[in-house]
């Protein structure tokens, strides 16, 4: 098994140079002065810097708070009272599915919001590059999304199973261990036959005497 040990060590060494997965992004907020200290971090706890953070109220346009610093932190002073949904995104990651919701009554909201008002976002719409039929019909015809997803999964499963069967057929030639095991089986059968023969001979001799 030393061969595998060498492989494992070599692999672990080379692993340090490889890119790229989709990991969890999370956030939490702490009241700080008139506003909040919002921290973004990845699944392993390291800070997520350089994320663009936006805040919006239920019926309002999203406003851009700013970018997270090296510690993954951004500061936010709510310009109006009520509930705010905070989303951070960047580098292909986003907390859209697990947004942070904060309430302005947890801090003292300044009466004059002019000084603390964050910059308003100039352009809000996200790039629309997902399938056109999903974009236009999402919500109205969920069965279309369901159908495409199921066909995709079924295709993936079937092609994987086909390759597994092929590989089992091609690679299933007997190994050295199999040959030895077969030889052992054969020897066991021979020993068994010989023992039976000896027993018969002994019985024959006893019957003669």
């Amino acid at each position: 098994m030393s061969m595998f040990r060498v492989l494992l060590i070599a692999t672990a060494g080379l692993a340090a140079s490889g890119p790229a997965m989709a990991h969890r992004l999370d956030s939490e907020a702490l009241p700080e002065g008139n506003g909040f200290r919002i921290e973004f971090f990845t699944g392993d706890g390291s800070p997520a810097s350089g994320l663009v953070v936006t805040a919006r109220q239920a019926d309002g346009e999203p406003i851009e708070i700013g970018k997270t610093d090296a510690d993954g932190v951004v500061h936010f002073v709510p310009p109006a009272a009520g509930e705010w949904t905070i989303v951070g995104s960047g580098f292909g990651h986003s907390t859209t599915r697990n947004p942070l919701v904060i309430r302005s009554d947890e801090v003292k909201v300044p009466a004059d919001t002019g000084a603390a008002k964050p910059q308003a976002a100039t352009s809000a719409p996200a790039p629309a590059s997902s399938p056109a039929f999903l974009r236009s019909n999402r919500g109205r015809f969920p069965w279309l999304e369901v159908g495409v997803s199921l066909v995709f999964i079924a295709f993936l499963t079937l092609i994987t199973l086909a390759m597994m069967r092929r590989s089992a057929r091609v690679g299933g030639r007997p190994t050295e261990v199999d040959r030895l095991a077969h030889e052992v089986d054969h020897l066991r059968a021979t020993i068994h036959d010989l023992r039976q023969e000896i027993a018969e001979l002994k019985a024959d001799r006893e019957s003669r005497t």
Binding site: T11, A12, A20, R97, S130, L156, T157, R166
Partner: protein, 216 residues
């Protein structure tokens, strides 16, 4: 090559679990006791490779090695990948339990493609062929698994556009690196113990241990 919880639509998540159950169930039918240590070893290699992270931007990145798993384990790959993905989700907080089905399908698809490419190119014939077939197998495994993930993100909606591009382009260099790793491993195995690539996976349970235990 794993997607975290909460990104994929419910259909892909649930469908992935059903598809993964079919694939793992089929693999288990081929699993003979003699092959269990080999599966465990490759699971460990897969897990170790994916647990070493290097931060790039806001996210850590790592190598995959599922091409090597596919070439050595063949139809048993999905068992090793399942165990490793569950451990990754539970210990390393990567991927997720609910999306383990989709992630498993993406990874096993790549692993089996690597094995198929390796077999078609005759990688078992000698070191030179093993190097070429191992490189192409390892690289194609990464590329095709990445394409599966990208397609899943495409179905997930517009908010993952950047992630799709990141997954697609970040895996081009990793495909080359992984191809080199798999090629060197394949050459080593072909030189030292070629039998490792020609295991017997019999549905009838005909294996040395089975014959020794059941028919002593």
């Amino acid at each position: 090559m794993h997607i975290a919880d909460g990104i994929l639509p419910m259909t892909l998540t649930a469908g992935g679990l059903v598809g993964a159950a079919a694939v793992v169930g089929t693999s288990l039918r081929w699993l003979a006791p003699a092959n269990v240590p080999r599966v465990g070893l490759l699971t460990a290699a897969f897990l170790v490779a994916s647990s070493i992270h290097v931060p790039v931007g806001p996210v850590p990145v790592h190598l995959l090695l599922h091409g090597l798993v596919g070439i050595v384990l063949g139809p048993l790959s999905s068992i090793a990948i399942l165990v490793a993905l569950v451990l990754q989700a539970a210990i390393l907080v990567e991927g997720g339990i609910s999306v383990v089905g989709f992630n498993l399908l993406a990874m096993t698809f790549g692993a089996m493609l690597a094995r198929t490419v390796f077999d078609v190119l005759g990688g078992q014939a000698g070191p030179a062929r093993a190097a070429a077939a191992g490189f192409l197998g390892g690289a194609s495994a990464v590329c095709c698994s990445a394409l599966v993930v990208v397609f899943g993100l495409w179905l997930a909606g517009d908010e993952w556009t950047q992630l799709r591009y990141l997954v697609l382009f970040a895996h081009l260099p990793i495909a080359v690196i992984e191809g080199c790793v798999v090629a060197s491993a394949a050459v080593f195995i072909v030189r030292v113990k070629p039998d490792l690539l020609r295991s017997t996976w019999s549905r009838s349970g005909v294996c040395p241990l089975h014959s020794a235990v059941v028919h002593p």
